[in-house]
Amino acid sequence: MKNAKTFNVIAAAAFMSTVSFAPSAVLADGHAMGPDINLPLAALGNPPIAADNPTSPAKVELGKMLFFDPRVGGDASTACSTCHEPKQGWAFADGFSRGYPGTVHWRNSQTIVNAAYYGKLFWVGSASSLEKQAKSAAKGGVAGNGEDDIMEARMAFIPEYRKRFKAVFGTEWPLIKDVWRAIASFEQTLIQKDSPADKYLAGDKKALNEQQLRGMKLFQGKGNCIECHNGALTTDEKYYNLGVPAPERWDEDGLAQITFRFEQYAKGNTQEQYRKIKDDGGLYYRTKEKSDLGKFRTAPLRYLKYTAPYMHNGVFWDLREVVEFYNAGGGTNIFTDGSMAKSKTPLLKPLGLTDAEIDDLVSFLEAYSGPEIEMSPPKLPPYAPLPMVSK
């Protein structure tokens, strides 16, 4: 969709002759202006590294340990890896992420793989950097439920960490803000840019088979996936209401109902909204614009093979289900049917794809996944008493 960056606009305009300027120019998320240009698909380069957090092998190594260390969390039982488990696509293989003990989360856990590329993180873009994402997740009541002071204090009692933080950050004692910085540096190494689709886009015309190539054509043509899943990132990083149905778990699971209400409370809803709402309001919680109810960030497509289930609430369990959803022109929820909003994007229309075409599209989507990124958890260094220093 729309992108304000001039460079991208020019690049896209030069490449894409088939993409319409479309009714979407005045619709989309309501914030953008100018002609609607879809960036061409492209091979992925290296992730950006923030100038205020340069990477180094030592920082990455420390970040890896911290990523897997449950002491960075409330009761020392949940690490980043608890909900971003390497064997589960660096995500969590259930509709909702598992959540802090005694809770369940209310959204699907997103993979860490390629998180380094995106301008904003979380399903509604509420974190503007990897560092801020790590901090929010470690502290959130249904995620890590940790507090800065106790997590920082724990780090000070791990001699191996004292040594490593001093070497990497130059501080006498580990600081919690540097925990997030080290984790960010580690996450920048969890990247996938060698998928068959990437190889094809980089010029290896043998990297995709016939079916995948048919799928790619549908992706950019009849399926119009590229309307939002575009550019090297396969996402325009914008927000849409697709009418993804509300998960049934909210009807059946008391724990999930608790978290649902907590989120309405915590995100600063009005009393009326708190009482009435029965689905995830999405981008609305950030903007408090009713037109943003039910909108979520366009999900990137790499590594999908390992990250089922799909969508912000994990209601679809395989890619065919996802494609069938779009083929039907998306779905309905309380933000599409007028009971709370009518914010569904008009970009979605029944596509008329045949079964064979759906298969082709799924095979192309799978071509955006390369080898699984496997990693064993590192051995975590133990606590030790501090020397008896007299004051």
Partner: protein
């Protein structure tokens, strides 16, 4: 009578006990300290609200990971304290102080061993539930957990409170704490032994205990440095020491990585010269038979040891209160004092009035017809 008053004498203490309300004394004596020694007056409480508080008190869902309840540390069988020298803490941490009893806590003016809360039990409840090393609870999640339990929903309604909310939860627990008042101690029923009676005289007189342990609960609710030795288990155990560091950080204590002593009431007053370091709030002397070991860090095992500690003029500390001096009590006198202290222990509060009968399920039933009923 302030503990800090250097002019006080044993006779003036004795006078204080009888001259309650005297205009002559009123200028230098606070009402609490001038009050008679006992008994503890029961508090009026709302039965239905206190009942809600009682269930909440025993409900593990009031902690972040639903692993511990208030009663995990404040055990009714141990006088609403526990027998560990240093308390347990939230999972992932361990405690650095002895669990204080909650019996008569409603009669205090300031709470926790360091007195860091001096407002009311609503604030104490909030602090205990939300502090990361105590119960680490996001109270918004707590509210929604309570709202998910039809038993609570009904109890709140019956109590005239409408639906559960985190504000009302913070009122319900203090309402329950009002029920935890001492009753039936030999001191109050007039059934003290001869030895205990002699001990009481020493307490008011030669031993000088009453200068701090005054009023119906035998506490002036003030901080004092008596030179209680550090508990080395805090500093040798990273699980405890890191908890202390987190506490000290949060309380704005300087140089928290390098100190190896519990600063106590310094967190109230933050004196630049550190002269308030090592002061702790005078504990109540009621229900002591249930609450061993003693002192803010559980370093003293028996009441005989406590009396011996004071007989020796307290411990060693540069900031120790100057009025603590060797007492020269004989073995018999010390035994009499112990007998008196024991006579301040009343009936155990372990019956159904104070303990929630039955188990509290930590499972949550779904709300039926969820999409069609208001949240």
């Amino acid at each position: 009578m302030r503990f800090q008053n250097p002019t006080r004498t044993a006779s003036s203490i004795a006078m204080m006990a009888v001259l309650t309300g005297s205009v002559f004394l009123a200028a230098s004596v606070t009402p609490t300290q001038a009050a008679d020694f006992g008994p503890v007056q029961p508090e009026k409480f709302d039965v239905k609200k206190a009942d809600i508080g009682k269930r909440l008190f025993y409900d593990r869902r009031l902690s972040g990971d639903a692993a511990i309840s208030c009663a995990s540390c404040h055990d009714p069988e141990k006088g609403f304290a526990n027998d560990l020298p240093l308390s347990k803490a939230y999972p992932g941490s361990d405690g650095f102080r002895n669990t204080p009893t909650l019996i008569n806590t409603v009669k205090r003016d300031a709470w926790f061993h360091d007195g860091r809360i001096g407002t009311n039990l609503n604030d104490v409840t909030r602090e205990s539930i939300t502090e990361d090393w105590m119960m680490n609870m996001d109270m918004r999640i707590m509210q929604e957990r309570v709202k998910q339990d039809p038993i609570y929903v009904n109890m709140f309604k019956e109590a005239g409170w409408g639906e559960p909310s985190n504000g009302k939860i913070r009122n319900a627990i203090p309402e329950f704490l009002k029920t935890l008042t001492s009753r039936g101690a030999p001191f109050d029923t007039g059934k003290m032994s001869a030895s205990a009676k002699k001990g009481f005289e020493l307490f008011k007189g030669k031993a000088g205990c009453a200068s701090c342990h005054s009023g119906p609960i035998f506490s002036d609710s003030q901080p004092h440095n008596t030179g209680v030795p550090e508990n080395p288990d805090i500093w040798s155990d990273p699980m405890r020491h890191h908890t202390f560091v987190a506490y000290a950080m949060f309380m704005g204590v300087e140089n928290y990585m390098n100190i190896r002593r519990d600063v106590g009431a310094h967190v109230r007053t933050h004196k630049a010269d550190g002269s308030d370091i090592g002061k702790f709030m005078t504990p109540s002397l009621r229900e002591l038979k249930y609450t061993a070991p003693y002192m803010h860090n559980g370093t003293v095992k028996t009441l005989a040891d406590v009396v011996a500690f004071y007989n020796n003029g307290g411990g060693m500390d540069p900031n120790k209160d100057k009025s603590l001096k060797k007492l020269g009590l004989s073995k018999t006198e010390q035994a009499n004092l112990v007998a008196f202290l024991e006579a301040l222990t009343g009936d155990p509060l372990t019956g159904p009035a104070h303990v929630w009968a039955g188990t509290i399920s930590t499972n949550y039933e779904p709300i039926a017809n969820w999409r069609n009923v208001p949240n």
